[in-house]
Subunit: 360 residues, 2 copies
């Protein structure tokens, strides 16, 4: 089998963690007899510098010709003065999501054995562990709803955004959440604000309808405000959390922070053909870029998600995940995951990549 | 001075904690020579039972005739089957906020000395303490924006909500946040999603303009998704958080949970004339209603906020707050704030009220 991958490393630590993901992929190709071709394209800040915009045409064309996008991270202080629409993150990610209709965003987050102390949660809560999959709708809601803009003058000048969801949009993402729950703990918690939003009332109704096709999966509903609270008290009681675009943005970040190890989290954004964009959950971390200390695991796990979801190479994906688990279980860690008095044992970005590649 | 107060105790623990607030108010009246008249009105579930709707006309008229509303809490399993619009919480609170244009919602939350172990945060984080005032815009944004509704049929049926903010709405709430910061740590963190929402772009712009009148106050901006994260890592670095209606709903609940002592938190919702509604942050807690174990402190502190903001009786307000601090500092606590092995020392709802009333 031969595949084309568009590699968009981006800014900050993007290129250096991407190099490690490529290292691991090379091992995987050899071991599983895959033929993967990679083409690099500029995206984000570097694309602004080189081509004047965060998502150049050549990059978009390259993505169109590929089977999947392996994404690094974008942004940094250099481009923060730009108007929001032109900034690297919003100017690259939102158009990519919209253009390829990547409506389905999977953001898995779990507390790894032995890394409980990294969580900002109280020790008796983190000791119980947690493993949550946030299923976020990614191309609808208030992100893309029209009309959006400004009108009026002086004191009365006003801005407006529209949150909008159709039955079709809700049911296709709900179905994915229920299917995912089947491979996990059979529980879906749908997050909304049905006591205030018309969109949430429809959301709840459609989710209930979809639930009828999954009688083996337990469904509960929770208000977004209450969800942010309950995740702090009893994260272990959640399994799959089904969220609209905005609520998923907020909640998935809260959950990611609860793990205390953002450098281990990756996410998948897919459309209905299986095409997808795979990226680490963390940002471009300009403060540590170029120092060789960034954790490449999230980027490596993004490659695993890409193999599983877009290339349908489940065995290769699992092999990467097992190799990562082995590294973490052996205490093979980058500095940010180590207690202050153990920082001298920290592995570099390249050492992590080497270890995981060899463990394939 | 003579004042009229509309007392809306509501459901669940509402009436029993209100009784303690009244006890404390009686002491305050005697000590400070105030003449306060109270009239009780049905609201929420009990109003549905007695009058067929959560906010009867008589209640609204009573509030109109009063100088302030002292609110308990509403809702319970008995009314959860009702359509969202008719439920006690949404059917009472939103119309009251809209009718009296209570645009300014203050939600203070701090970690009390000696109660750090109640916080769900890791001990080294909670040991640093925190004291955050959430200033939430309460009558605009996606809660009240028009159009809101449904259209279309079948798969294409869709729901929509409108988020809408005018310069006037943003600047009046921003001003309150900056003024509040002056009496605190001189820092305002404005929460938005300016990388996605047109409303947030205007929000940020107007907040920057208002900031020019407060050169002594530091202003920073944070995206809502990042805010939910940073509050978990470094809550002690925030002072005043300025939020739109929806983001304030989400963030104030996260912060409340971070204190671990919801029974101590109260909130004020006010309009530009000083009229306001004062209520505990927690809910009606039907599971513990009628048992005499609910914590009345949040309700008592709501009375203090009412004295300060609507009745302009700063001394009386401070006297209540000092009495509460004295109770907590003496370890005089209700059961939910005690470790399991100390539950036998728990004080009842009435004992808490008595102690605080005597300490005035
Ligand atoms: C960069 C931004 C537009 C984006 C979002 O809000 O979706 C980011 O926060 C994310 O969660 O991927
Ligand atoms: C009951 C509900 C409508 C309300 C809100 O969302 O504002 C509540 O959550 C609150 O925060 O006061």
């Amino acid at each position: 089998m031969s595949y084309q991958i568009a590699v968009l490393s981006g800014d900050g630590i993007g290129p250096e963690v991407m190099a490690e993901a490529r290292k691991v992929l090379t091992e995987v190709e050899a071991r599983f007899g895959l033929d993967i071709h990679y083409t690099e394209y500029d995206v984000g800040g570097i694309a602004i510098d080189n081509h004047g915009c965060p998502l150049p045409d050549a990059t978009l064309k390259g993505c169109e010709a590929a089977d999947a996008i392996l994404f690094g991270s974008v942004g940094g202080p250099k481009w923060e003065h730009l108007p929001p629409n032109d900034q690297p993150e919003r100017g690259a990610l939102l158009p990519l999501r919209g253009h390829f209709e990547l409506f389905c965003n999977l953001r898995p987050a779990k507390l790894h054995d032995g890394l409980e102390h990294m969580s900002p949660l109280r020790s008796d809560i983190s000791a119980r562990g947690f493993d949550v999959l946030c299923v976020r709708e990614l191309t609808g809601g208030i992100y893309f709803g029209k009309p959006k803009g400004r009108q009026g003058e002086g004191e009365n000048e006003e801005a407006f955004d529209t949150m909008r969801y159709s039955r079709r949009e809700i049911s296709r993402i709900a179905r994915i959440a229920f299917e995912a729950a089947r491979g996990r703990k059979n529980k879906v918690t749908s997050v909304d604000k049905a006591n205030v939003l018309a969109c949430s009332v429809l959301w709840r109704q459609v989710v209930e309808e979809v639930a009828k096709d999954f009688p083996d999966v337990t469904l509960e509903h929770i208000y977004i405000d209450n969800a942010t609270m309950q995740l702090l008290r009893r994260p272990d009681e959640f399994d799959v959390m089904l969220c609209s675009n905005l609520f998923g943005d907020i909640l998935s970040d809260e959950i990611a922070m609860l793990t205390g190890s953002m450098g281990l989290l990756s996410s998948a954004s897919m459309n209905s053909t299986g095409f997808g964009l795979f990226e680490p959950a963390g940002g471009s971390a300009p403060d540590i870029a170029g120092k060789g200390i960034a954790n490449p695991v999230a980027q490596i796990l993004s490659a695993a998600l890409m193999l599983r979801h877009s290339l349908k190479q489940e065995e290769a994906a699992s092999a990467i995940e097992r190799a990562v688990t082995k590294a973490l279980a052996s205490g093979y860690l980058t500095g940010e995951l180590l207690a202050a008095d153990k920082r001298n044992e920290a592995k570099s970005t390249a050492q992590m990549g080497d270890f995981i590649a060899q463990a394939i």
